[in-house]
Every structure is written in structure tokens, then in C-alpha cells.
């Protein structure tokens, strides 16, 4: 997993609420057995018409936001299916950070496993950043994970909270599985106890 330290880049505004994972990556692209290559189909049904032509109005098709690395989105982003293809598609497109007033739990979790930083901020802050994102390619936002801040292009700074363990893993690009494998003795002990307390399991 890639480390996440600081990121300065273009932010795309997506004010729609309840953007679900079916919208982020429709089901026809879940048939892959790989993690990579999903970026071209990110937001597929919003981004392309039936013939595969780009829909010019869609934000990521507009010249200003084609290279966005940050999304500023409406409430309850990532609701619905647990598909990790959603963060894979975001990542493959180049999005490393999503900012919203709230996220669905499973999507939120999945982001951290893939080096994407989901940031929850209060409504006023998201509104201000949404405005800033609308300015397009001339306005670059900066996300500083170490200091837990997002700065808009006009210098407004917002502090965000993050779980310390997740922050540590993101900053260092650490893989959970390796960390947990080191705890095998504790897991062995638990299994021994469980075999006595709840043998039917």
C-alpha cells in the first residue's frame, strides 16, 4: 500500500448526497479478478452514455477536473454495497482523498486499506471546500495528514479528526495482515479458550 503523507491537487465538486457504490463502480465491472484497471469505469453511468461517449456535463469529464486527486462530496458518500472495487476504482483514477460530511461505514473502512484518506468535516467546512473545488484547476487544495489539516486554495484551513492507528498505518503504508500475523500466539490462546467455553463453534 502506498503511503499517504501530504497531497496537493485539484479537487472535484460532487455535491450529490447518498452517492452509492453502485454509482462509483457499476456491477458490470465487478467481474474482474484483479484490483487494477477500474479507473476508466469510475462513475461509469454518470460519466459515459450508452455508446461509451463521455457526457460533457459530468465533472470529471470537464477539462478543469480531469486530473482531480481529491473529491469533495455530498453527505453519506459510499453507501450501499461493500464492494472494495469502489476505492480501487477511485485509486486507479488517481483519487487519494475524499471529503464529505459523512461516509458509509464499510466504504470508509475500505478506503484506509487502499491508501485513500476519507475526511469527515462539518457542513460549513465542506460547503467552503465545495466552493473552492468549483474553481477548478487553478485552485489546488492541500491535505496534510501529519497535521490533520485541509487547506483551500484561498488559505482557509480546516482541522480534521482521524483514528490514531489508522493515521499511523496510512502515514507508513502499513499492511494490517502482517501486523496481525505477529499476534498469532494471542489468537492461538483465544482459540484454545473458545474450544472449552463454546465447543460447538
Amino acid at each position: 500500500m502506498d503511503k499517504f503523507t501530504t497531497l496537493t491537487g485539484i479537487a472535484a465538486p460532487m455535491p450529490l448526497v447518498n452517492i452509492d457504490t453502485d454509482m462509483i463502480i457499476p456491477k458490470q465491472f465487478l467481474k474482474t479478478i484483479k484490483r487494477s484497471g477500474l479507473g476508466v469505469n469510475l462513475f461509469d453511468e454518470l460519466r459515459y452514455d450508452r455508446e461509451g461517449n463521455e457526457i460533457p456535463d459530468f465533472v470529471l469529464n470537464q477539462p478543469a477536473w480531469r486530473d482531480a486527486q481529491i473529491l469533495v462530496a455530498g453527505d453519506n458518500f459510499g453507501c450501499g454495497s461493500s464492494r472494495e472495487h469502489a476505492p480501487w476504482a477511485l485509486l486507479d483514477f488517481g483519487i487519494r482523498c475524499v471529503i464529505s460530511t459523512s461516509f458509509a461505514d464499510i466504504f470508509f473502512n475500505n478506503c484506509f486499506k487502499n491508501g485513500i484518506l476519507p475526511i469527515t468535516l462539518p457542513q460549513e467546512a465542506v460547503d467552503a471546500l465545495m466552493e473552492d473545488a468549483r474553481k477548478g484547476a487553478n485552485a489546488r487544495m492541500t491535505v496534510d495528514l501529519e497535521n490533520q489539516t485541509v487547506s483551500s486554495s484561498d488559505g482557509q484551513e480546516f482541522h480534521f479528526d482521524i483514528d490514531p492507528f489508522r493515521k499511523h498505518c496510512l502515514l507508513n503504508g502499513l499492511d494490517d495482515i502482517g501486523l496481525t500475523m505477529e499476534k498469532a500466539p494471542a489468537i492461538d490462546r483465544f482459540e484454545t479458550q473458545m474450544a472449552q467455553a463454546r465447543p460447538w463453534i
Partner: protein, 477 residues
């Protein structure tokens, strides 16, 4: 976070959580032991690939259960294989992974194959007090047994395969109580849609919901699974219902349920699994069972749920970001504000899915259809949730009722719930569906989904438009 010191009153969630903590860090992050890991073909290939690349094994193959469901054809010529190459590769990958890593496996041609959330309970893999995970958000279904069950991403699937644990922080406790008795014609599906209509799709975010109250207690296991199945549509990763005699009766005798002395020991532990009277709740929602009407959705979010007696709302009826979302929904659904819900004409009926693909659901739909036919121009499809549900329904003659009513009778799978196989809606086609998601494009590109109970979906098929099952039964019975 909820206080879980010894002796303090605890919720059901607290109790199951405490029984599975392998290790707790200072900041409250826990390593949680996982009793059952269910696996399907869509969210697992990258996880198995990860194991292979790192030379890791599946730590507890005996606790891991794999079954293909999303991509499998539901047509009767299924043994001839899967036409779509990518779908076939995905199912073949599961086949190979299941055998190579030695996990429990129900292949496509096994009578026990079906939707993973139907197979788990049916085979007795799902038991009260367990932790159950699957790379699928509707894992919440298993909470109906008083098991802590939730969906995980593929990275977490790999984590559980390798370590049989998950790194978790505790969620908050939310109680949803449905008091009193349900009116005739009102089912578990109506209850859960009404709950989501009330709380919104983010109402349960960050929480584990326990459903309780007389109306919930009186539900069968099938009904309880329908309720917990849609906990995720209310934003909660997990929904729970405390186990009771109804639960024990359902579990007893299932292939993987404990037997003999172990059964006795298990039941005596299971009887301690309830929320203590003074337990702390972070959020409480109460609905009166008597007030719940048959409920349907009009839009493209499960929270767009209204009593069948209502009319389609206008964007101006909402506030904030929901105004734009509602405008978009109405356009997508091709509906005008002010239209009576019962005036909405449909083209298709889908009966199935892990929400309503169990035997009781098929019985309810068949009951409505007995001696009736689908309206002119309406197509219907019934997809049992598992091969065993299908066999049971055929034994009861339900397949004949469906076929005589003009429905297609299919083999088990997810089918048109998400249309990863060829079972899809055509653009603009409007469907009365018993599944759980009405998102844009869910059942097919530009397809339009109205969620409802099996009886309501069957009745809509006969009438050719959405109907109030209470009046339908009265007029035509």
C-alpha cells in the same frame, strides 16, 4: 463508547463483542475473533490472490464457507456453463480457490447452492452469539439469529482468511423498537422499509441496531432475516435480534447445528444473549406496529419509502441536498410528483433475493397468485434463494402456481437483484421487486425498481400497477 466493565448492564451487541475480543489496544481498537466467514465469487478472488502472493494459508478453513451466487445463471440449462466469459472466470476462480485452500464449498451444481445469506442459516452455519462476516453488505441478514454479522471489504476478507480475526472499533448501540401488532397484510418487509423511511439511509451509520419489541418478537425467522438484511440500507453495518425459542426451533437439527450435549450447552449460553434492562443506548427509535401500512419505494434510495396510500412527493417537500437527489430520482424513475402510488403501472415483477427469497416469501406470493394471472404485458420471474428452497417450494406445488400465473420459475442465485448475470431489466422497464436496493441501474441499465413485500409484488403483477394488498385481497378474494 459503551461501558463494558464486568457487572455493568450490557446490550446484546456488547455481550457478543466481549466474547470475541482477542486483544484490546489502548485506543479501543480490538482484534476480534471471527467464528464464521462466508465467501462468494465477486469479492474474494483478489483476497485469495493476495494469500497466494504472500504464501499465506487460510487459518481456519473449517470456519470458512464458499458458495457462488452473484454470477450464476438461473436458467434451467445452467449445467451447460456460463456464457459471459468474465462471469465464468470469476466462478471458476472461486471453484479453484475453494478447493486449493480447502474451505467448505457448495458448487453451482449442488442442491444446497444458493445466495450465501440464505445458505448459511439453512445449513446451520449461522448460530446465535457468533461473529459472522462476508465480503457482502447484506451479511447483516445473519443478525436475525442474534449473531454479530456484517459486511467487509476484500482487504478484510484477506485479513480474515489469513488470521481469522478482524481489526475493529466498537460501534455505538442503537435500539429500534416496533411495538404492538402488525395489521393484516403488513409484513417484515413493510416494517423494515417503514423503519428506513423514518431513519434515512444514514440513520444507523456508526451503529449496530438491535430490533426489538412485540412486533419483531412475533416474526418468524424468515421475517427476522428480512428485517436484519436491510439494516445496511439504514446505514448500520449490523442488525441484531435477540435469540429466543423461535430461533432455537429454527436452528435445531440443521446440518451444522450442535447436537446432543453440545446442543444443551449452546442453548443455555444462547439464553443469556439479550440486552440487560438498564443497558445504555446511544440512539433509540420507536415505531408503533399498528401504524405501519404496506410500504413501497418511489425513488432511487431505500429511504424513499412511503405507505402505499401516499402520493409521489415533490423535490420541494425535502430540504438540503435531498432536494436535488429527489429531483434526480423522479427524473430517473419517470414519475411526476402528486401521482398516487397505486397508479404507477409496472412492466415486471421480481420475486427473490436474500431479502425475500425464502420459502415463506414464496408461499406469500403464491397465495396471492393462486388462480390468477399476470396482467397483459407484465413479465414475472421467481428466483428461489437456494436449491433447497426451490425443492421445498416444488414439493408444495408453488412452482405450478407461479407458472400458471405466467411467471418464470428459476434456479437459485442473486439474479435480478443486481443483474450481474443476464437477468436484467431493460432501459425504462419498471419492476415491482422484493429485493433490497432501488439504486440507479441496480437491476439493469436505466431499469426502475420499486421495493416491496412478496405479496405486494405478486399483487402488482396481477393488477399491472402497484396496489394496496389490503384492498386487493378484499376486492378480488
Amino acid at each position: 463508547m459503551t461501558n463494558t466493565t464486568a457487572g455493568a448492564p450490557r446490550t446484546l451487541y456488547d455481550k457478543i463483542w466481549d466474547a470475541h475480543v482477542v486483544e484490546r489496544q489502548e485506543d479501543g481498537t480490538c482484534l476480534l475473533y471471527i467464528d464464521r466467514h462466508l465467501v462468494h465469487e465477486v469479492t474474494s478472488p483478489q483476497a485469495f490472490e493476495g494469500l497466494r502472493m504472500t504464501g499465506r494459508k487460510v487459518r481456519a478453513p473449517e470456519r470458512t464457507i464458499a458458495v457462488p451466487d452473484h454470477n450464476v445463471p438461473t436458467t434451467w440449462d445452467r449445467e451447460k456453463g456460463i456464457d459471459n466469459e468474465e462471469s465464468r472466470i470469476q466462478v471458476e476462480a472461486l471453484d479453484r480457490n475453494a478447493r486449493e485452500f480447502g474451505v467448505n464449498y457448495y458448487p453451482v451444481n449442488d442442491i444446497r447452492q444458493g445466495i450465501v445469506h440464505i445458505v448459511g442459516p439453512e445449513q446451520g452455519w449461522t448460530l446465535p452469539g457468533m461473529t459472522v462476516v462476508c465480503g457482502d453488505s447484506h451479511t447483516a441478514t445473519h443478525g436475525a439469529f442474534g449473531a454479530l454479522a456484517h459486511g467487509i471489504g476484500t482487504s478484510e476478507v484477506e485479513h480474515v482468511l489469513a488470521t481469522q480475526t478482524l481489526i475493529q472499533k466498537k460501534s455505538k448501540n442503537m435500539k429500534v423498537e416496533v411495538t404492538g401488532r402488525l395489521a393484516p397484510g403488513v409484513t417484515a418487509k413493510d416494517v423494515v422499509l417503514a423503519i428506513i423511511g423514518e431513519t434515512g439511509t444514514a440513520g444507523g451509520t456508526g451503529h449496530v441496531i438491535e430490533y426489538c419489541g412485540e412486533a419483531i418478537r412475533n416474526l418468524s425467522m424468515e421475517g427476522r432475516m428480512t428485517i436484519c438484511n436491510m439494516a445496511i440500507e439504514g446505514g448500520a453495518r449490523a442488525g441484531l435480534i435477540a435469540p429466543d425459542e423461535t430461533t432455537f426451533a429454527y436452528v435445531n437439527g440443521r446440518p451444522h447445528a450442535p447436537k446432543g450435549a453440545q446442543w444443551e450447552a449452546a442453548v443455555s449460553w444462547w439464553r443469556t444473549l439479550y440486552s440487560d434492562p438498564d443497558a445504555h443506548w446511544d440512539k433509540v427509535v420507536t415505531l408503533r406496529g399498528e401504524d405501519i401500512a404496506p410500504t413501497v419505494t418511489w425513488g432511487t434510495s431505500p429511504e424513499d419509502a412511503l405507505p402505499i396510500t401516499a402520493t409521489v412527493p415533490a423535490p420541494e417537500d425535502f430540504t438540503g441536498g435531498k432536494v436535488e437527489a429527489a429531483r434526480r430520482s423522479l427524473e430517473y424513475m419517470g414519475l411526476a410528483a402528486g401521482t398516487k402510488l397505486t397508479d404507477i403501472a409496472i412492466d415486471a415483477v421480481f420475486i427473490g433475493s436474500c431479502t425475500n427469497g425464502r420459502i415463506e416469501d414464496l408461499r406469500a406470493a403464491a397465495e396471492v397468485l393462486r388462480g390468477r394471472r399476470l396482467a397483459e404485458g407484465v413479465r414475472g420471474m421467481v428466483v428461489p434463494g437456494s436449491g433447497l428452497v426451490r425443492a421445498q417450494a416444488e414439493e408444495e406445488g408453488l412452482d405450478t402456481i407461479f407458472k400458471e400465473a405466467g411467471f418464470e420459475w428459476r434456479l437459485a442465485g442473486c439474479s435480478m437483484c443486481l443483474g450481474m448475470n443476464p437477468d436484467q431489466l431493460a432501459p425504462g422497464e419498471r419492476c415491482a421487486a422484493t429485493s433490497n436496493r432501488n439504486f440507479e441501474g441496480r437491476q439493469g441499465y436505466k431499469g426502475r425498481t420499486h421495493l416491496m413485500s412478496p405479496a405486494m409484488a405478486a399483487a402488482a403483477g396481477v393488477a399491472g400497477h402497484l396496489v394496496d394488498i389490503r384492498e386487493f385481497a378484499a376486492v378480488t378474494a
